[in-house]
């Protein structure tokens, strides 16, 4: 009875304060504006993977592998969702050591309907982060397209998400050592893109080249699908970067603006670079450039202004173009759909340039252009830590899975196409 009285007294006080200051409208601190934006962001970030990545990658493979490629993204969405619910979220966002979260949120323990994460319900925060874990796994699949066993892929993505994605996510955002060191990664340049890009590179090298690589015609079967997928990615990325403000505020608005600017700049940079070196501006090129720009602005999106975004886009467009058209052929690995060139190199470029172009008045941290040259070193520290851990762990996981079930389909299946050989279906 007494308790009820004090609660109602408290409610009266809160109500009275709310009448003066709408920001204190709720005693649990929930902001409907923030929550509405985060619910929306979560949905459109999911859209980036299905159908975004699914179509982006599906269009770039040969017709006999389009279903298997689309399946990679769709199955990753389902698998990583369940893993995130069981253990991934806990390892990334519950209290732990400097290197990994604990088991305090296994099976989302404690995520009640009242549980809060800042000004939004924890359920929304958890699902928002879940869509990031999903797309990171789905992105890797571009490197191994057209030749990996589906069973091996599921084992790899599942174990990789638990042992690599969640820890690196914790390092940067969950209270781990990279966040403590001052590494700037607003929306996942390191956590999502360098991470997936490095895992992709390692996987492409461990798996080996596709049958006929360098000799036979491996051209994309439908670039229109790829452009539609890239467009889904572009639109969804406003949830990715804007949503990483975890609020409907000026930071989210600025993230939206710089995302649009950097993306357009990178698309143009790739297009003109290709026009100059290969005589023609290709549709695949401008779409690839747009994704490169989206990747590169990701770590910077809460820290830089429009001018920084323009520079980051232009530089990333050229760097990723160079990675896909020159570096890959020079080194000689078969990263089927250029995950490393676009996400790995784009992520590294963006992470470094965040340290150059960060504006104190925007994100609270100054970059090299404002005199804080040391921020570049901090960024590189974050990049190297991620590359080393991700590369070693990915390599070990792939070798274990290779020994247990084998990584590649046999040559006959690869010739026939994975749609029929692995899934018993075809698009025609």
């Amino acid at each position: 009875m007494r308790q009820t009285k004090s609660i109602s007294f408290l409610a009266a006080v809160v109500w009275a304060m709310a009448a003066v200051n709408p920001a204190l409208a709720r005693e649990d601190g929930l902001s409907s504006g923030d929550t509405a934006w985060m619910l929306t962001s979560t949905v459109i970030v999911l859209m980036m993977t299905i159908p975004g990545v699914a179509l982006f990658y599906g269009g770039m493979v040969r017709k006999k592998n389009v279903l298997s490629t689309v399946m990679h993204s769709f199955a990753a969405t389902c698998l990583i969702t369940v893993i995130w619910m069981i253990i991934g979220y806990s390892l990334a966002f519950s209290e732990g050591t400097s290197f990994v979260g604990g088991f305090g949120k296994l099976f989302l323990d404690g995520m009640t309907v009242e549980a809060m994460s800042g000004s939004i319900p924890e359920s929304v925060f958890m699902t928002f982060q879940m869509t990031f874990a999903v797309i990171t796994a789905a992105l890797i699949t571009g490197a191994i397209a057209e030749r990996m066993k589906f069973s091996a892929l599921l084992l790899f993505l599942g174990s990789w998400s638990i042992l690599v994605y969640s820890p690196v996510c914790y390092w940067v955002w969950g209270g781990g050592f990279l966040g403590d060191a001052g590494v700037l990664d607003f929306a996942g340049g390191t956590v999502v893109h360098i991470n997936s890009g490095i895992a992709a590179l390692v996987a492409a090298i461990v798996l080996g080249k596709r049958v006929g690589y360098g000799r036979e015609n491996l051209a994309p079967h439908n670039v229109v699908l790829t452009v539609v997928g890239a467009s889904f990615l572009w639109v969804g990325w406003f949830g990715f970067n804007g949503g990483s403000a975890v609020a409907a505020n000026g930071t989210a608005g600025m993230a939206m603006a710089v995302t649009q600017i950097a993306t357009a700049a990178a698309a143009l940079a790739w297009m003109f670079a290709e026009w100059m070196t290969h005589q023609k501006p290709s549709v695949l090129g401008i779409a690839s450039g747009a994704v490169a720009g989206l990747v590169a602005i990701t770590p910077a999106s809460g820290f830089v202004g429009p001018a920084g975004a323009l520079a980051i886009g232009l530089i990333a467009g050229v760097v990723c173009f160079w990675g896909a058209t020159w570096l890959k052929h020079k080194v000689g690995y078969d990263d089927s759909l250029d995950v490393f060139a676009v996400h790995g190199l784009g992520g590294i470029t963006g992470a470094i340039l965040t340290g150059v172009f960060a504006v104190e008045a925007i994100g609270g941290t100054a970059g090299a252009l404002e005199g804080n040259v040391g921020q570049i070193g901090t960024q590189i520290y974050g990049i190297i830590a991620t590359i080393v851990y991700c590369a070693v762990a990915s390599f070990v996981l792939l070798k274990i899975i290779d020994a247990v079930v084998g990584l590649r389909v046999d040559e006959e299946q690869e010739r026939e196409g994975l749609d029929i050989a692995l899934h018993g279906e075809s698009v025609t």
Binding site: N217, L218, A219, E274, H278, K280, K328, H329, D338
Partner: protein, 112 residues
């Protein structure tokens, strides 16, 4: 009877069909084919990977005609399908032994 097979540029198909209809040809069969002649193929670039596409899309027209029509049909296709540019295609003519109209069982010239 003669069996005439022509490989032509795809956008010339309608002109060829109209010209043959005017000549009194009662039917023809068309298929999308690929091949190469003096025109050769073209090169495609995807993110720096260069692929030579050796076979060019063409339309194959097949028509069975009586002996007396043959010369005019060949001439008619040659004129209708011509652009004067390389890659206009070719016309082949063969002797035809038998023709049967499936619906009625009529044979040879009656079946054309």
């Amino acid at each position: 009877m003669k069996f005439i097979m022509a490989v032509i540029k795809p956008f010339k198909l309608d002109e060829v069909r109209e010209a043959l209809t005017e000549l009194g040809v009662q039917g023809l069969t068309v298929s999308e084919v690929q091949g190469f002649g003096r025109q050769k193929g073209h090169t495609e670039f995807y993110r720096g990977a260069e692929y030579v596409v050796n076979f060019v899309p063409k339309i194959k027209v097949e028509v069975a005609v009586s002996d007396e029509l043959e010369e005019r049909v060949v001439e008619c296709i040659q004129q209708a399908a011509q652009t004067g540019q390389i890659g206009d295609g070719k016309i082949f003519s063969f002797d035809l032994d038998t023709a049967v109209r499936i619906r009625t069982g009529e044979t040879n010239e009656q079946a054309l």
